[in-house]
């Protein structure tokens, strides 16, 4: 059963109150009427009992329903049910014993009191009094009968003057009334002592019957004028059926006393007869009252328990709801006692909790915004970021870290960093460095390390910063490109200065050497002339070499001014290679893919790239008489982006040991001749076009250089 509706609760309360009132009034009515021997409302007795019984039944039902509800609440472990039971038992233990004790003693008291009240020890005395009164009455009757005989005698002596005889006899026998009736009941003669007796009352049939059977009938008559002895006698020697009725007044004091004795005997006999019934009624009324008290005590106990427990129950339910996260619990503050104080404290607590929760929610939202912002920044950061806890376990990373380590670091969250090191030996130096710093407990640190990658050495700058929870945030910057750019800029500056500072004096030197040779040589002796000739020749040759070197540096240092337009790469390759077709030291092979897209590029610069690569192959294989050169064009698709590869392969000695990206820097060469700028210029041109220069050894021997250009690049 769910909770009772308010209207049902009110109906139950009203029914109980009504039943109580009915029971109370019924008991009061019975109590008020119990000792009475009759009343005008006696006919309502059954209804009163029925109402009382119904009221008791209603109260019992009300109590039963409450007990049933309490039992169910106990089974369901409803908050407050056990306290209600405890309180109920306590209150009943306090209330019932006095009531039951009072009941027991009251019953005993009723028994004793009624017995005392209706003590039977005076009954014999009353019976004796009654016997005396009867004897006196019989004497009165005997005297009356005797006087009536005198009347009859006088009537017999005067048969013609019956009326007069009655008048005479009335005074003689001191009768109140003398009447001579005919056989048919008519009045033959009448004598009365008072006018009130002038109207005779004929004897009843029963009296006449007794008269006829016994010849006389004597009885006591209570009339309005008092008590009288009535004597009926037949007339002697009269066969007509006439009879005399004589009324003799009973003395007043005797009449009154005899009536009192009769009333006392009556009352005593009635009381004796009614004693047990009276006790039963008294006990029944008392039982009603006790039942009222008991039921009332139970109902009051229920109500008190409910009043005491209800706030606690509400408090428990509200506390449970708060525990489940429903903080909007506001309890009514109905009392001003300790419970009221507790309720107010609870309400204040829930309000504080709501405020705190609101603040926490706002803070959490702010934190979440900050985290999303930080995550967004980190994800877009080119620097790799690792967050470690105090034990060196990975707590977070960004996309750049994934790119650096070449794996998804989210899979390593919560794992020690050493596990990541075991997974990627290439990055072991990073792991070792970080773990070492963690072990040292450094709060702020910075360290540069280099990783040996396949194509080049990767320069990394690691910076660590301690976190408040003793963890570390590691930021890793890849400075390889920066470093290379810095070096390229330095080389460009050197080349530019060389071109500017060295190239300018070379022409005067060469002109001076030639003038010296032209003017002095003819005038010198043969021996001196030969020396001068070799010297000037050497000067001119070296100046040419210097010019070549300076021009190369100038070319390298030249600012990129590309004239981009669609280039047919295959046609360009054919055009350049045609220049080398007649070179006996080269065996050219073309492997050109047809239907290539035309990249936008500077045609002259691409031509220079191809020349440099061919020349680089020739110089690298200078000791070979014939060098096989394979030039290949291919369209390459790399993750949805198209590239054009122009590769130059030779069957020479291959790349030098330890070849890496640094070999594309200026002045890195293994050749005796050469400026050391060829590959540097090729890489620079490749980068100016948004492409790259790659180098690798061929599996069948020799080296392969690849110029990779983007397709569709503006």
């Amino acid at each position: 059963m769910s909770r009772l509706q308010p209207w049902a609760r009110r109906l139950g309360t009203a029914s109980a109150a009504l039943a109580l009132l009915v029971l109370l009034f019924s008991a009061m009515y019975l109590a008020a009427d119990a000792e009475g021997f009759g009343n005008d409302y006696a006919r309502y007795y059954p209804m009163v009992f029925a109402a009382a019984a119904l009221a008791l039944l209603l109260l019992a039902v009300a109590i039963g329903s409450r007990l049933w509800k309490l039992r169910r609440q106990l089974n369901e472990r409803t908050p407050g049910a056990r306290t209600t039971r405890r309180l109920l038992i306590l209150l009943l233990v306090l209330a019932l014993p006095p009531v039951l004790l009072t009941y027991g003693f009251s019953v005993r008291f009723i028994e004793a009191t009624v017995d005392t009240w209706l003590r039977a020890n005076n009954v014999p005395a009353l019976e004796d009094a009654l016997a005396i009164a009867r004897q006196a009455l019989q004497e009165h009757e005997a005297q009356a009968n005797q006087r009536t005989e005198q009347v009859l005698a006088r009537l017999g002596e005067a048969p013609l003057g019956e009326a007069l005889a009655l008048e005479d006899a009335l005074d003689e026998v001191q009768a109140a009334q003398l009447v001579l009736f005919e056989a048919d009941g008519r009045v033959a003669a009448l004598a009365a002592s008072e006018p009130a007796f002038l109207l005779p009352a004929p004897p009843e049939e029963d009296a006449l019957l007794a008269l006829r059977s016994a010849g006389r009938h004597v009885s006591l008559q209570r009339l309005a004028q008092g008590s009288f002895v009535r004597v009926l006698r037949k007339l002697p020697r009269d066969t007509s059926g006439r009879h005399v009725q004589a009324l003799f007044a009973v003395p007043v004091d005797y009449a009154e006393r005899s009536e009192r004795i009769e009333a006392a005997v009556f009352g005593t006999r009635q009381a004796g007869f009614l004693r047990e019934s009276l006790k039963a009624v008294f006990v029944l009324i008392l039982s009603f009252v006790v039942l009222i008290s008991v039921f009332l005590a139970v109902l009051i106990a229920f109500d008190l328990a409910r009043r005491v427990v209800a706030p606690i129950t509400r408090l428990a339910q509200a506390a449970r709801a708060v525990g489940e996260g429903q903080l909007g619990q506001e309890l009514p503050e109905v009392s001003n006692d300790e419970l009221g104080f507790l309720v107010r404290a609870f309400n204040q607590m829930t309000r504080e909790l709501q405020l705190t929760q609101a603040r926490a929610r706002t803070s959490a939202e702010e934190t979440e915004r900050q985290r999303a912002y930080l995550e967004s920044v980190l994800s877009r950061l080119s620097s790799a970021v690792l967050v470690l806890d105090r034990e060196g376990r990975l707590r977070g990373s960004n996309q750049a870290a994934d790119d650096l380590f070449g794996r998804r670091l989210a899979d390593y969250l919560g794992l020690p960093l050493a596990v990541l090191g075991e997974a990627t030996s290439l990055h072991q130096p990073i792991i070792d460095c970080v773990l070492q710093r963690l072990q040292d407990g450094a709060m702020e640190w910075r360290q540069e390390i280099s990783l040996a990658r396949e194509s080049e050495r990767q320069l990394l700058i690691l910076r660590g910063a301690g976190l408040p929870d003793a963890g570390q945030a590691i930021v890793i910057d890849d400075t390889t490109a920066i470093d290379r750019a810095r070096r390229d800029a330095a080389w460009s500056e050197v080349a530019r200065r060389l071109a500017h500072e060295v190239k300018n004096p070379l022409t005067p030197i060469q002109l001076a050497a030639e003038r010296l040779r032209r003017r002095v040589l003819p005038r010198l002796q043969p021996d001196d002339a030969e020396v001068l000739d070799r010297a000037t020749h050497t000067i001119v040759a070296q100046v040419d070499a210097l010019k070549t070197l300076v021009n190369a540096f100038g070319e390298y240092a030249r600012a990129p001014q590309l004239e981009l337009r669609p280039v047919n790469l295959n046609a360009l390759v054919d055009e350049v290679l045609d220049l080398y077709d007649n070179d006996p030291r080269l065996q050219l092979v073309r492997d050109l893919q047809t239907e290539l897209p035309n990249p936008r590029a500077d045609q002259g610069r691409l031509r220079q790239v191809l020349h440099n690569l061919v020349k680089n192959a020739q110089e690298a294989s200078a000791e070979r008489n014939v060098l096989q050169l394979l030039v290949r064009t291919r369209l390459r698709d790399d993750a949805g982006r198209q590239w054009l590869d122009l590769s130059v392969e030779d069957d020479g000695p291959g790349l030098p040991t330890g070849f890496d990206a640094s070999w594309f820097e200026p002045y890195r060469t293994t050749k005796a001749k050469g400026t050391g700028l060829g590959l540097a210029i090729v890489r620079k041109i490749a980068e100016e076009h948004g492409g790259q220069l790659l180098a690798e050894n061929r599996t069948e021997g020799g080296a392969r250089f690849i110029l990779r250009l983007p397709v569709g690049l503006g």
Binding site: D33, A34, E35, G36, F37, G38, N39, A42, R43, Y45, P46, F49, A50, A53, G104, V107, R108, E111, L130, A133, R134, L137, E204, D206, S219, L220, S258, E259, I261, E262, V265, F266, G267, R269, Q270, G272, F273, L274, S277, L278, A280, V281, V283, L284, S287
Partner: protein, 178 residues
């Protein structure tokens, strides 16, 4: 005390049963054999021939000065002065009295012996309110518990075996019916 409690419990239990059945007839103890309303001039009387059997406790109550009331209810008439017979005992004269009450009148008959009074009760003539002959259909006689002294009412109400006396309704005969 225990006997008293058990008696009270029995009393309460039988009270409900009694309340349900206290209006039931007891034909074995009260039966109207003949009834009619006759006219004596302007005066109407109810003549009833009946068979009544009083219980021993009723007669004991009578001997102890408790009046026994018999009510004669005329169905169809709303008469507040329903005819009654009241039986009483006078200890001084040691006589029994049969009082007939109705229509504002009252008359008594005295008997030296109780059996005579009960025999006389077999056939009674009671004054009734004028016009009763026209409105009454049935008549029934019942012992009036409400007229008992208060302490006796509840036991009488409960103890039907001793105190219930009620006839079934008897259809009134026409006055000229033999």
């Amino acid at each position: 005390m225990r006997a008293l409690i058990s008696r009270l419990v029995a009393l309460c239990c039988s009270l409900a049963l009694c309340l349900l059945g206290c209006s039931a007839a007891t034909p074995e103890r009260a039966e109207i054999l003949h009834a009619q309303i006759g006219a004596d001039g302007a005066r109407e009387t109810l003549e009833v021939e009946q068979h009544l059997r009083f219980s021993a406790i009723m007669l004991e109550a009578l001997s102890n000065g408790i009046a026994l009331h018999l009510r004669y209810e005329l169905d169809g008439c709303d008469d507040p002065q329903a005819p009654r017979v009241v039986l009483t005992y006078s200890p001084l004269t040691d006589e029994y009295e049969l009082q007939r009450v109705g229509a504002g009148e009252s008359s008594q008959r005295r008997f030296a012996r109780r059996s005579a009074m009960l025999a006389a009760l077999r056939r009674v003539r009671l004054p009734v309110t004028a016009g009763s002959r026209d409105c009454a259909d049935n008549v029934r006689v019942s012992f009036d518990l409400a007229a008992l002294p208060t302490p006796l009412r509840l036991p009488a109400l409960i103890d039907r075996a001793d105190w219930a006396l009620q006839s079934a309704p008897f259809a009134l005969l026409e006055a000229n019916t033999p």
